[in-house]
Symmetry: C2
Subunit: 400 residues, 2 copies
């Protein structure tokens, strides 16, 4: 029941020279489910990443962050178990998986980045994962299979791809992501991986992954819960055209940002129980931070989100959320729009406001809420969804 989101057409997902994919069924949590992805990167690939700022970050996050200081030859991703809240034993198990994959590839364990997603605080079945690695390495999987292999409560695989023309030739950017709940990324989403064959200097890649995260995964929220395992990784294999001119680098950055944004929005469209995709835009605030605070207050309010679900233009709930956001704003100056319709003016009901029109706007599967603070020039956008019966159902039954 994702909102305006279907599984991508496999032919739209371009291979990325220098990237090889293999999936397997390891039986991490459920039998017969593809739950393991191995991504091999050509030697010399540049890789950068951003990770959760949750203080309880998972074992694989700790290790991946450390391994990023070295060259990276492979990523290994399992679903079904997050290997989080597992202490030093969790670190050992994640390293066991890295070492096993490194052994097969003839590289060092520190050249492997591990990623896990799934249930928290249960021991990672590392033996089952390592046993499945050879099968994954024999596979030549496509992007759609890779996107499917990393799903948990996702209902739709998430993958986007773009070709772009650089001065040195045609480059490709393709990415996959997973995530549907426990989503309020802070530096990164649940799991997002974007690959390009363009040759990009490693230092530049760091900035690129941060900028991409800031306009994509850092602008979405489902339930305000920042995961312990969030990671967003960008790899440039260098097997395609060289991006060294300022203009080519800007082109790659734009394409990476656009793929990341499509992935981030796909996560919200496929959010647990979501029936609406809502763009919350805050304008004319004093600072971007103030605008983000206000936008997240709206996007996190359970009352606002249930009103979205009910197509109920209970605008007071939105104004109340703006009011408690912590921004020291002047309530009498705030204007509020639903799509292009002015619904509140100077903090009160707009004279032209007609509830029927607001209901009609909110009945659509996609609409926007726009708050104009009228006290500065900054702005921010957050994408979110509604809070439905199914969110409760999915999360009450997740482990049963």
């Amino acid at each position: 029941m994702a909102v305006n989101l279907a599984a991508p057409d496999p032919s739209s997902l371009h291979p990325v020279p220098g990237v090889e994919l293999g999936v397997a069924t390891a039986g991490v949590r459920k039998l017969g489910r593809t739950d393991l992805l191995v991504v091999r990167l050509a030697p010399g690939s540049a890789v950068a990443g951003v990770f959760t700022r949750n203080r309880f970050c998972a074992a694989p996050v700790i290790i991946a962050r450390k391994h990023l200081r070295h060259p990276v030859r492979a990523l290994v991703v399992n679903t079904g178990n997050a290997n989080a809240g597992t202490g030093s034993d969790g670190l050992k198990r994640a390293m066991q998986v890295c070492a096993a994959l490194a052994h097969h590839l003839g590289c060092k364990a520190r050249e492997v980045l591990p990623f896990s997603t799934g249930v928290i605080m249960e021991p990672l079945p590392a033996d089952r994962i390592t046993a499945a690695l050879p099968r994954a390495l024999l596979e030549r999987s496509d992007w759609l299979s890779a996107a499917r292999a990393i799903m948990t409560t996702d209902t739709v695989p998430k993958a986007f791809s773009r070709k772009l023309r650089l001065s040195t030739g045609e480059a490709t950017v393709t990415g996959i992501a997973k995530g549907a709940g426990m989503i309020r990324p802070d530096m990164a989403t649940m799991l997002g991986f974007v690959f390009t064959d363009a040759r990009v200097p490693r230092k530049r890649l760091d900035a690129m992954v941060r900028n991409a995260a800031d306009r994509s995964f850092n602008c979405i929220t489902v339930d305000g819960d920042t995961s312990t395992n969030d990671a967003f990784v960008l790899a440039a294999t260098g097997r395609g055209p060289d991006a060294s001119s300022r203009r080519d680098l800007a082109g790659v950055e734009e394409a990476v940002g656009s793929v990341a944004q499509s992935l981030a929005q796909a996560i919200v469209r496929d959010a647990e129980g979501a029936t609406k995709f809502v763009t919350v835009r805050v304008e004319r605030g004093r600072s971007p931070d103030e605008c983000r605070r206000v936008a997240y207050a709206i996007a996190h309010s359970p009352l606002v989100k249930t009103a979205f679900f009910a197509s109920d233009p209970n605008l007071g709930r939105i104004l109340a959320a703006i009011g408690y956001s912590g921004a020291s704003l002047d309530a009498d100056k705030v204007d509020l729009y639903l799509d292009d319709m002015l619904v509140a003016q100077k903090g009160g009901r707009a004279p032209s406001y007609r509830e029927e029109q607001a209901v009609a706007a909110m009945r659509k599967p996609e609409f926007s809420v726009r708050a104009v603070l009228n006290r500065g020039r900054a702005q921010a956008t957050v994408w979110t969804c509604d809070l439905s019966f199914d969110y409760v159902k999915i999360n009450a039954e997740y482990r049963t």
Copy 2:
């Protein structure tokens, strides 16, 4: 379906000399529903209050805050309409109600405190309220009727009463409150009113109402939404014994705090859709503020709250919430208890942890979550509830 909360026995609610109550049916929103309460206070009563810090505070809050600078002779409370997000017209309508009541009582409009609760952003039907005032003034209502008259989505009227012995005689403290959703008070709850016949100096009353709020209404959350209309008022009529000695004042303060705490907990017990009453206690933090941040992160997490609903000891969700609370804590030091059961130790699963026991603990209608940060001496307690299907249902259907 409130959690361990029944309507109070009327005989347990002691009259407070100097306080007269009258309720009426004004038809603010629904016909035939008692929706108006007038509280008359004896001349010379001292009154203090704390109010919402939401920047979109409602018209009655703006007026009540201002009128508190003067002597107070009466409170007037309506349900069905919050008179919030209504701009200058809302202020006029609230003043119209104050003036009408003042006219009947032969006092000044500024000696009346107005309170409203209900739907936001709709014009207050002040005419219907003023028309009902004479009927309310003719009534001699009891506390239970008064508590009922201020309910909105509450299912149980909330009233508590205590007698206490001062050196100068026996004093009474009785209070009522309402609230079930949009609850994350900041300085005060939705609406809470506590009355005593003890004679307390006005200046002391200010501190008393703040202290009482800090140990009661400021320790609860249902959905993290701070209302536009929150108000907590304490009135001392002085028609009973004099509380001027330090010891008597401490006695009154203790009784006021205890009545306020019972009212605050009753709000959580009767929270929209609540099936569990959960005490979240954070211990050994560096500062009370840090402990409150952690406690509220747990108490607000939709994932934690749905796990409470499902009696699912998904402890990782609690650790994740602690991790993103913003407290700069060391995750490896955190211990977690469910009631008295150690479930996580040093940030990981406790060796003695048995899931069946945790499920049993969470199946109870009341249990506690205790996070021990092991980095200081501060502590904080927050009371909250679970997030159930019915929360979504109630809030999706509130206005329909």
